[in-house]
């Protein structure tokens, strides 16, 4: 035994032990990109594992054998400087996207490339499970999302952006029809949370809290949960049964919903506290109308109130049919109101003080309305509203000042007559709750009258009261409300379990990007892709659709979805889960701003299972050194310099075992079958054993949301991390459509099978086996064990034969 001192820690080691191994054994961090346990040494080591040995200076710990007592520092400034320099060299030669561009703007933080990848593999249920990891209302959002992601989709540089949101809608609809992967709902943990408001934010929070084991009750003023989804957004855009099913899906997890309960009338926060709720989430939305401020504005009807009443079925349609309507403002509320009124055969004009390009809703929404016959009048502001028989509205054109402020041009004033005028300028959170009780009165407000929360923890000035959604940030989109609800759920969970509030590490600095703007993008990369037309949703004919409230847009078919999903360029790195390089950059705090902006090597796609992107290669040569078949030709010249040239090619000796992919510390080598960017710490490594030959290789099966993502070798005897092609790539059979899923039965082999319950099937088996035993004796029966089933199962099968049927007629496939 030798005593080794690393950073003030006294350790014992055997003579000849590698310094790097000693440190790793003890959990002391020393970075390395090229070290392999098999003792192989690269021609040019990465050099990151340097440490300082007292009296000897800087050494590489991967090749330093301990022979005497030494003192080692792994964090010496000199050491750090060397590592930093090496890493900067590697960064300057790296070209790729750590994360897909679509990922960044999504408020929900959805793994977009991942769920599209699942669709491209035909695994729609897994796709939905990945979405629902962060978004429990996918069918709704899939219809109403403004799509922050699509404008940045790289595919647009080839032809047109991928129809991301329509794909989300497709899987949500598909699973509504065909069922979802089962969720694991934990038993209740005894802690109670009250949520005030059953809209998207409240429902999302409820969903995530219930999945963490909390007992959740939602209080809502309406009879049914859903908030604006159910009562605000018209059915032709978001059908009521879609919302109903989606909301039921959440409530059925075991979330209590108390409808018709109005905060301030039926209960106060004090009541909730006394009822034993450890935390309360306020998510009542933004229902206070914005006003424009012109003479007679109060005479106009409220668009929001109309939509809500209409949603509840409390509007007398006849009172509105065939009217001439003016709508002031061009918010979502305005356009949705306009489209509802078109269906009541009204003549509708939307009046907006700014230009068409300045509207806050997507232009496609305006397109739908226009095609339905809504008239839009832009750069026109209201001056005065007078009520007579109808409404007399004075309008004027507007212009922009040099400071881009809106200026009304009074000299252009003109008059319009309407049967009815609505105001729809958007909505704000209300502060009327202050009067609801003592605790409410204590809640602090921001200067603008919105509730004050800690933006990190989502807590109000009362630590046990949280707030989320439109109530906090004013009227925004559903996906933003969902994201806010999810964050609040995490914070409430931490709060109730007295855990520190989690703060997501900001890693943008370490995200390599092939280019953020189109003009800085290397078009050589785009040349790898063949143009393919974007799939569009079918839109029902306007003349037909304005006669009813049925959904206007018809979702993708399976084929369309599959085709569309395959348009994804897979920008995000599909090796990010195994990227040691990124981990080291984060640990050593080396940013990637100076990465290469041009593609240097063509992406090699000729291997049947493995994609090679040498633009991401760090020249560690681990692949070469771990290949048992010497099947990789690899060379690097001028390593670590801008003149670096890497040559990589699989030779004919390759048998597709995939050892090189698993060992590659970046996304230079990736499995073609893996289309889901994921992180290892958000997936479950499951110990498994290969189901094929008799060698019995140990495997790790990587599972996320009840779906297998990939299989890797496990470092245990007999295989010690290695596998053959079947072990690593032969696991997809488990989700084949051919799987037997129900017991089948028939009286005669000339009949067709019919699906039956287990009860009936096993009764039938028992009855017939006993009948035959009784008639012909036990020797007329036989039982076969399997070479694929477990020891325990084979044991039980022969026990069944021997103890119950009293026969030794047992055999197994030892002969095949």
């Amino acid at each position: 035994m030798i005593r080794v001192r690393i950073n003030d820690r006294e350790l014992n080691a055997n003579p000849g032990d590698l310094l790097l191994e000693i440190a790793r054994r003890e959990g002391i961090y020393i970075p390395s990109l090229c070290y392999l346990k098999n003792g192989s040494v690269p021609e040019k080591p990465c050099g990151l594992c340097v440490v300082k040995v007292a009296g000897e200076g800087i050494v590489r710990s991967c090749s330093y054998k301990v022979e005497r007592e030494i003192e080692v520092s792994t964090e010496d400034p000199e050491v750090n400087a060397i590592r930093k320099k090496i890493l900067e060299g590697l960064v300057s030669n790296h070209y790729g996207d750590c994360k897909a561009p679509c990922h960044t703007p999504c408020p929900g933080g959805l793994n977009i490339q991942g769920y599209i990848g699942f669709i491209a593999k035909g695994d729609f249920k897994a796709s939905l499970a990945l979405i629902k990891e962060r978004l429990p209302l996918p069918a709704s959002v899939g219809r109403v999302c403004p799509r922050f992601c699509e404008p940045v989709c790289r595919r647009a540089l080839v032809d047109e952006a991928v129809a991301i949101n329509n794909l989300k809608r497709f899987v949500a609809d598909y699973c509504m029809e065909n069922g979802e992967l089962p969720l694991e709902v934990p038993p209740l943990n005894g802690k109670k949370v009250a949520i005030v408001g059953g809209g998207p934010a409240g429902l999302s929070a409820a969903y995530f809290l219930r999945l963490e084991g909390f007992e959740v009750t939602i209080f809502d003023r309406e009879k049914e949960a859903g908030g604006l989804l159910r009562y605000g957004i018209p059915a032709f855009k978001l059908p009521k049964d879609v919302v109903k099913k989606e909301v039921e899906g959440i409530l059925n997890l075991g979330v209590e919903f108390q409808g018709g309960k109005i905060w301030g009338r039926d209960f106060s926060l004090k009541d909730l506290k006394e009822a034993g709720y450890g935390a309360v989430l306020l998510a009542i939305g933004a229902r206070k109308e914005k006003l424009y401020g012109f003479e007679g504005e109060g005479l106009a009807e409220s668009a929001l109130k109309f939509l809500l009443d209409f949603g509840r079925g409390e509007v007398d349609n006849k009172a509105y049919t065939k009217k001439r309507i003016g709508i002031l403002g061009c918010s979502y509320t305005a356009i949705e109101l306009a489209r509802v009124l078109r269906r009541l055969d009204c003549e509708v004009e939307v009046i907006y003080p700014r230009s068409r390009t300045e509207v806050s809703v997507p232009l496609r929404e305006i397109g739908y309305a226009e095609r339905e016959g809504v008239k839009f009048t832009y750069v026109t502001a209201p001056l005065k509203l007078i009520k007579g028989g109808g409404f007399h509205l004075t309008l004027a054109k507007t212009t922009l000042s040099e400071k881009r402020e809106l200026k009304i041009l009074p000299e252009t004033a003109f008059e319009r007559e309407y049967d009815l005028v609505f105001r729809a300028w958007g909505e704000l959170p209300s502060d009327e709750f202050k009067a609801f009780g003592d605790i409410e009165a204590k809640l602090e407000l921001n200067p603008d009258g919105t509730i004050k929360i800690n933006s990190q923890t989502m807590q109000t000035s009362e630590p046990w009261i949280f707030a989320a959604g439109d109530f906090v940030h004013g009227a925004k989109t559903v996906i933003q409300a969902v994201a806010s609800g999810r964050r609040a759920a995490n914070m409430i969970a931490s709060y109730l379990e007295s855990k520190p509030f989690e703060r997501a590490a900001v890693t943008v600095k370490f995200d390599f990007s092939r280019g953020k703007r189109a003009e800085e993008f290397d078009s050589n990369f785009l040349d790898l892709f063949v143009p393919s037309e974007r799939m569009h949703l079918k839109e029902r004919e306007p003349v037909e659709r304005v006669r009813d409230f049925e959904e206007v847009l018809i979702g993708f078919t399976e084929e369309e979805a599959f085709k569309e999903a395959n348009r994804c360029l897979k920008c995000g790195c599909l090796g990010i889960h195994k990227c040691d390089f990124r981990e080291i950059l984060i640990k050593e705090d080396v940013g990637v701003a100076k990465s290469r902006k041009k593609m240097k090597y063509a992406i090699q796609k000729d291997h049947p299972l493995i994609e090679v992107d040498s633009n991401k290669c760090v020249a560690c040569s681990k692949c070469v050194r771990s290949c048992p078949y010497s099947a990789i030709f690899f060379s690097v010249v001028n390593k670590g310099t801008p003149q670096e040239v890497i040559t990589f090619r699989f030779t004919e000796a390759c048998v597709n075992c995939g050892a090189c992919v698993d060992v590659c510390p970046t996304g230079a080598l990736t499995k073609k079958e893996l289309l889901i960017p994921y992180s290892r710490n958000q997936s479950k490594p499951v110990k498994s054993v290969c189901t094929f030959c008799g060698v019995g290789c140990n495997l790790t099966v990587w599972v996320k949301n009840g779906t297998i993502l990939e299989v890797t070798g496990r470092d245990l005897p007999p295989n010690r991390g290695y596998t053959c092609v079947k072990g690593r790539f032969g696991w997809e059979f488990y989700k084949s459509k051919d799987r037997l899923t129900q017991p089948l039965l028939r009286k005669s082999i000339n009949d067709d099978f019919r699906a039956v319950s287990w009860e009936e099937a096993l009764d039938y088996v028992a009855e017939n086996l006993l009948k035959i035993r009784d008639k012909y004796g036990p020797e007329a029966l036989g039982f076969l064990c399997s070479a694929r089933t477990s020891n325990e199962e084979n044991f039980l099968m022969q026990k069944l034969a021997r103890t119950i049927f009293k026969t030794n007629n047992v055999d197994c496939p030892a002969r095949v």
């Binding site: 049947p608 048992p628 110990k687 498994s688 054993v689 030959c693 060698v695 019995g696 009840g706 779906t707 005897p717 007999p718 295989n719 053959c724 092609v725 079947k726 032969g730 696991w731 997809e732 059979f733 084949s736 051919d738 799987r739 037997l740 899923t741 017991p743 005669s748 082999i749 099937a761 039938y764 088996v765 017939n768 036990p778 020797e779 007329a780 029966l781 036989g782 076969l784 064990c785 070479a787 089933t789 477990s790 020891n791 325990e792 199962e793 044991f795 039980l796 099968m797 069944l800 103890t803 119950i804 009293k806 026969t807 030794n808 047992v810 055999d811 197994c812 496939p813 002969r815 095949v816």
Partner: protein, 531 residues
């Protein structure tokens, strides 16, 4: 040595000074073993290969013995002949540990002179002498065999003849020594260990032994039957004869994997009741009355035992589809329907019961296996398991030198059928292919059935690379694409049985191993012609 399992572990391949591969093409069938063999050869290990086909390892062999299919026993006895004749055997070991040497010596010397061996095997005597001397004079030699040795009428004798070589030279109980049968399927070892055989109870214990039966009764509370059980081939024969009426097949597609399928199908359709339990609809489903859907490896927990007796735990990763259930649960529920109060709630409870009836599993339980596997025998909770058998002696005191008899293949090429068909496995597929054909990566690599033929034969018959060919005999016809391969000797064709649309087993000979009734997959006569 009584049980069909490797006496050492795969790592011992690296400790051997000489490897003798006979009837195993591990490059395709056991790739991880092949990796270890390769590594051993890289370090200077010597190699003898006996295989009719010039497999990849033949290129690296010191001696390559291209024997005729079905002549394993003559070849191995011929090697023994040289060892005994030249006195190269380990005299000390033979004296202390070996039984029946006199009779064996007489048998080998009198019956297996190299002239006769050469006539059977087609191998020149000097090559056999070279192999024998190289084997017997090495310090640590390991014999590996696969189904190329076993799937013959004299398959069991072949295994005995191979083990005899190790016995003669004292290659037992030491690192890098012994005999290693490479098991074809991932838990075929376990299925046998667990008593999935007609002649033994779990742990290879005999139900003829009163003491054994009593021990089982203490745990199972039931009397055990003593009437000899039937092997599957016997069951099928009896079914044809109307004496055998019902079969319950779990994870075993008899109608696709058995040899001489035509007869198997007739037997299955003659049953009054057939239950199949599987993850996909097996071909046997055609004859079944009840089909029970079961969970696959990723959907349940349990243990498998590999070819080196290593019991390994696998954990549930995902849920089974639809109503499918783990097999242990199905059997448990059936037992309850039959009026027995089985109440296992997990496979780990079953594992504990195995340890109660078989001492070899005494120390094996799931919680011990969470990290890594254990090789049986593992006698108790503190026992580390056994990586090498026979380090301290032999179960029956001495090793018996069996007189390995030669039974020639049932069929020989003749005027009507001029080719010998040998069935083999490919790297990309496994067994009947039900799982690998449904894994897109593997199917893309190897999408359709191929038959390998010598280029000269192909030229003579007008068969081009990739051409559709018909392979037929009296039992049936099957279509493949031809792959011209000079590693295949003239007169032989090689193919697999991975594909439903090329049921090679239809063509397989009705021959069975004399002792174990393994079908003679390796020698069937056929004709081949372009379509």
């Amino acid at each position: 040595m009584g049980t069909g399992a490797a006496c050492v572990h795969f790592e011992e391949i690296l400790n051997a000074e000489l490897l003798f591969l006979t009837g195993t093409n591990s490059t395709d069938a056991h790739p991880i073993v092949a990796q270890k063999i390769s590594r051993a050869l890289d370090r200077g290990c010597k190699l003898i290969v006996a295989d009719p086909r010039r497999i990849a390892f033949a290129d690296r062999a010191n001696v390559y013995l291209p024997l005729r299919p079905g002549s394993n026993v003559p070849l191995l006895n011929g090697i023994a002949h040289v060892i005994v004749r030249e006195g190269l055997y380990n005299k000390e070991f033979v004296e202390n540990y070996v039984d029946n040497f006199e009779a064996y010596q007489h048998y080998i010397l009198s019956e297996w002179d190299l002239g006769r061996v050469s006539r059977y095997t087609g191998i020149k005597p000097y090559l056999i002498e070279q192999a024998a001397i190289m084997y017997a004079t090495s310090k640590r030699a390991l014999i590996l065999w696969g189904l190329g040795l076993s799937e013959h009428r004299s398959g069991s004798y072949g295994a005995m003849a191979a083990a005899n070589l190790a016995t003669l030279c004292g290659f037992w109980g030491k690192p890098g020594c012994g005999a290693m049968p490479l098991r074809g399927q991932n838990n075929v070892q376990g299925a046998c260990d667990m008593g999935g055989l007609p002649y033994v109870l779990p742990g290879y214990q005999s139900y003829k032994d009163d003491g054994v039966r009593m021990r089982f009764k203490e745990v199972w509370k039931e009397d055990l039957p003593v009437v000899d059980g039937k092997t599957l081939p016997t069951m099928l024969r009896d079914a044809l004869a109307g004496k055998f009426k019902a079969l319950y097949a779990m994870g075993y597609d008899v109608a696709m994997s058995h040899g001489n399928l035509g007869e198997v199908w007739r037997a299955l359709s003659n049953l009054e009741f057939l239950v199949v339990q599987d993850i996909f609809m097996p071909l046997s489903g055609k004859y079944a009355h009840v089909v029970l859907p079961s969970a696959c490896v990723y959907e349940k927990s349990g243990t498998y035992t590999n070819g080196e007796r290593r019991v390994q735990f696998f954990e549930k990763a995902v849920n089974p589809p639809g109503d499918a259930k783990p097999d242990w649960l199905i059997i448990t529920e059936l037992a309850r329907k039959l009026g027995f109060s089985w109440n296992y709630t997990s496979s780990s409870e079953v594992a504990l019961e195995i340890g109660k009836v078989w001492q070899g599993w005494g120390g094996i339980n799931h919680s011990r296996l969470k990290e890594r596997g254990i090789q049986w025998p593992c006698l108790d909770e503190d026992h580390p398991g056994t990586s090498i058998l026979f380090t301290t002696g032999f179960p029956k005191g001495k090793v018996h030198l069996a007189l390995a008899k030669h039974v020639p293949p049932l069929e020989e090429p003749n005027e009507a059928f001029t080719f010998t068909l040998v069935t083999v496995r490919n790297l990309e597929h496994y067994n009947i292919g039900s799982m690998t054909r449904r894994s897109s990566s593997l199917l893309n690599l190897y999408p359709e059935p191929l038959v390998d033929i010598n280029p000269d034969d192909a030229e003579r018959l007008g068969i081009l690379e990739g051409a559709k060919v018909r392979v037929w005999n009296n039992r049936g016809e099957v279509f493949y694409r031809a792959r011209l391969d000079k590693r295949v000797p003239k007169g032989l064709v090689f193919t697999d049985f991975h594909f439903v649309d090329a049921l090679t087993n239809l063509l397989v000979s009705p021959g069975l191993d004399e002792l174990m009734e393994t079908p003679e997959y390796k020698v069937s006569v056929v004709n081949i012609e372009p379509v």
